[in-house]
């Protein structure tokens, strides 16, 4: 437990120290790289809420990541072109206020997760994996054919959305926003994990029958978890789109779902900080291996295969040991 605590603290400090040093030495690229890791961490924490705590192996979380991205893209696009989103029955205008965009991204992806979850959770096991994958693909093809918002080419936003009192185009200031959000999400998930709901959810993962016997409905627990999970990943999607000032259907592709899953697995399933470690490791690998070879996915594949076959607890399992794992 102590090792895990130290590792958590170390990670959070490392994620601040690197950008701070990069800021002093004037290396904005490094700050952006860490920002990327922070945003991926949030996406991974979202998936981990369903996967780690609820045991729901969703292979379609790119859908929520992408919906968050498109929520940002569409709102900012309308604000940028001064065209209303909807004129009838009520006038709806675009916005470039980050906070409003976050709220909308969270609501949209939560609603999508509620709908997809309500259908998918009728099934279990391998059916659930395939169905979440299929719903992800459905939204992916939908965005490709949605020509009003760029179709396959996606949407570009010229200026990053605004946050009161900050210049979001400055890498370090945007990093701070993302980092604070990460802290909020980590704290929220940590509290949720220890809450009656979180305990019941983990109990349902371990033994559905007993949970039912004490009067709880596993379906409702899972659906709530899936919805929260989608909402968190949607927030990460909005931030990611803002980081790149670009959103495209590739955010919803099944490879993205696989990558979000990799964040969770590399770090360690079912630990609040697992995805943070996993996302940081992923960005590190992406950067170092990507510089090494054009075909870096081969090495990523080999590492992932090694982790799955031989190091099942991920990075956390290796360092902090398995005894504190939640299974």
């Amino acid at each position: 437990m102590k090792r895990e605590f130290l590792l958590n603290g170390g990670l959070l400090i490392l994620l601040v120290v690197i950008p701070a040093v990069a800021w002093f030495t004037d290396e904005p690229f490094l700050i952006t790289l860490v920002t990327r890791a922070v945003i991926f961490s949030i996406a991974g924490i979202g998936l981990n809420f369903a996967l780690g705590f609820g045991g729901l192996v969703s292979f379609g979380h790119a859908a929520f990541f992408g919906l968050g991205g498109y929520a940002m893209g569409i709102l900012a696009y309308h604000a940028q072109t001064y065209t209303p989103m909807l004129e009838w029955p009520v006038l709806v205008e675009g916005t470039n206020s980050m906070m409003i965009i976050w709220v909308i991204a969270i609501v949209v992806s939560a609603l999508a997760a509620l709908a997809i979850g309500a259908l998918s959770l009728r099934t279990t096991g391998v059916y659930f994996i395939m169905i979440t994958l299929a719903f992800g693909q459905m939204l992916y093809y939908f965005t490709i054919s949605w020509s009003a918002y760029g179709g396959e080419d996606g949407l570009s936003i010229y200026v990053r959305n605004g946050f009161p009192g900050l210049n979001t185009m400055d890498p370090i200031q945007f990093f701070i926003i993302c980092y604070v959000l990460l802290l909020v999400v980590v704290y929220g998930v940590y509290r949720a994990e220890k809450s009656p709901f979180g305990l019941m959810l983990q109990a349902a993962r371990q033994n559905e029958d007993r949970v039912q016997a004490v009067g709880q409905v596993p379906y409702r627990l899972y659906l709530t978890a899936f919805t929260i999970s989608g909402a968190i990943t949607g927030l990460a999607g909005a931030l990611f789109a803002d980081l790149n000032r670009f959103v495209s259907p590739s955010m919803l592709s099944w490879q993205t779902s696989g990558e979000i899953m990799i964040f969770v697995i590399l770090g360690g399933v079912g630990r609040v900080f697992g995805p943070v470690a996993g996302a940081a490791l992923f960005v590190l690998l992406e950067h170092s291996l990507g510089g090494l070879s054009e075909y870096w996915h081969i090495y990523l594949g080999a590492i992932l295969l090694g982790v799955v076959l031989f190091a099942r607890g991920g990075l956390f399992g290796l360092i902090a040991g398995r005894e504190v794992a939640h299974d």
Binding site: R122, V126, Y127, I131, A134, I265, I298, G301, L304, V308
Partner: protein, 305 residues
């Protein structure tokens, strides 16, 4: 005549469905017998297509290309099964998904490394090019018609094999009770390798046959893999009959949806709006079909067991 177009589109849908069956049959067998969710199936499809394109370019023979696709995919299947997949049978589905996802990354980048990023081309042979005249003045591509015939023949052969041969009996026994057939003196691990290689060969064949219509390129396997997942979810995992019916349903829905939905919306929307709404909805139609089937039967059409 619009109905001639409709018949053509129906045949296209049938052709697509039959090819999807070749993919889905392997997936559903592998899941039914070994309990494995196998994402690497799309890579085997790609390997079949690349092997066929390479052999066709070297020899000029389409038949040799098809044999090469079967052999290469089966060989890749055996190698993957004995080195990695075998370790996954006792693991949970999450581990299986991740390990086979890792294999996709390795296979895709490996193929890109060997063959480059540019698509290869595989042409149908001369004796199958052009079109044939069907009754009522319908002209249809000879190659696509051959695909329907080949696919249905493979399906019939597969049904016969599962129902009548000794191998088929073992496969069905393996689906029912793995420990029991082991106790009866059947070498489980070679049966598993055989089933995996069989599924791989079917996927490779599908890749080569489709590769002659579309281009042969890295990443061609995964969209088909995901559709094959939809097929077996609709049909019921583990059921070959479900895979056939699901595949044809999905093939027809996809093709006819893309053809009919824009026309349907044109009745009450402006032409441009009808095209965009229709094509958006058409691209989602098979998933809507899947959601509908699941609402009524969460285990798929033939997945009662």
């Amino acid at each position: 005549m619009s109905w001639i177009l409709l018949v053509e589109q129906t045949l296209n849908g049938l052709q697509f469905g039959v090819m999807l069956f070749l993919m889905a049959a392997g997936l559903t067998l592998i899941f039914g017998v070994m309990g494995l969710i196998n994402l690497v199936h799309g890579s085997l499809y790609m390997i079949g297509a690349f092997a066929a394109a390479a052999v066709a370019a070297a020899t000029g023979s389409f038949l040799l290309a098809l044999i090469a696709s079967l052999a290469a995919a089966a060989a890749a299947g055996v190698v993957v099964e004995t080195t990695v997949i075998r370790r996954l049978y006792d693991r949970d589905h999450l581990d299986q998904v991740l390990a086979t996802f890792a294999l996709i990354l390795i296979f895709s980048e490996g193929t890109r490394w060997v063959f480059g990023s540019f698509p290869l081309f595989l042409d149908p042979p001369d004796y199958l090019s052009g079109s044939v005249s069907l009754p009522f003045g319908i002209e249809y591509s000879r190659y696509r018609l051959s695909l329907i015939v080949v696919g249905l023949a493979v399906a019939a052969g597969l049904f016969w094999m599962i129902a009548k041969t000794r191998i088929g009996i073992r496969i069905r026994a393996g689906e029912n009770d793995r420990e029991m057939i082991g106790a009866l003196g059947i070498d489980i691990s070679s049966l598993y390798t055989l089933v995996f290689a069989l599924g791989a060969a079917l996927a490779g064949l599908a890749g080569a046959l489709i590769g002659a219509i579309q281009s042969v390129q890295v990443g061609m396997g995964e969209p088909v893999l995901i559709l094959a997942f939809v097929v077996i979810v609709i049909g019921g995992i583990g059921s070959i009959k479900g895979a056939l019916i699901g595949a044809i349903l999905v093939g027809l829905t996809d093709t006819l949806g893309g053809f009919l939905l824009p026309k349907l919306f044109a009745l009450f929307l402006s032409p441009s709006a009808a095209t965009s709404v229709g094509s958006s909805l058409a691209s989602m139609s098979i998933y809507i079909l899947m959601a509908g089937v699941l609402l009524v039967r969460p285990k798929g059409l033939f997945g009662g067991v």
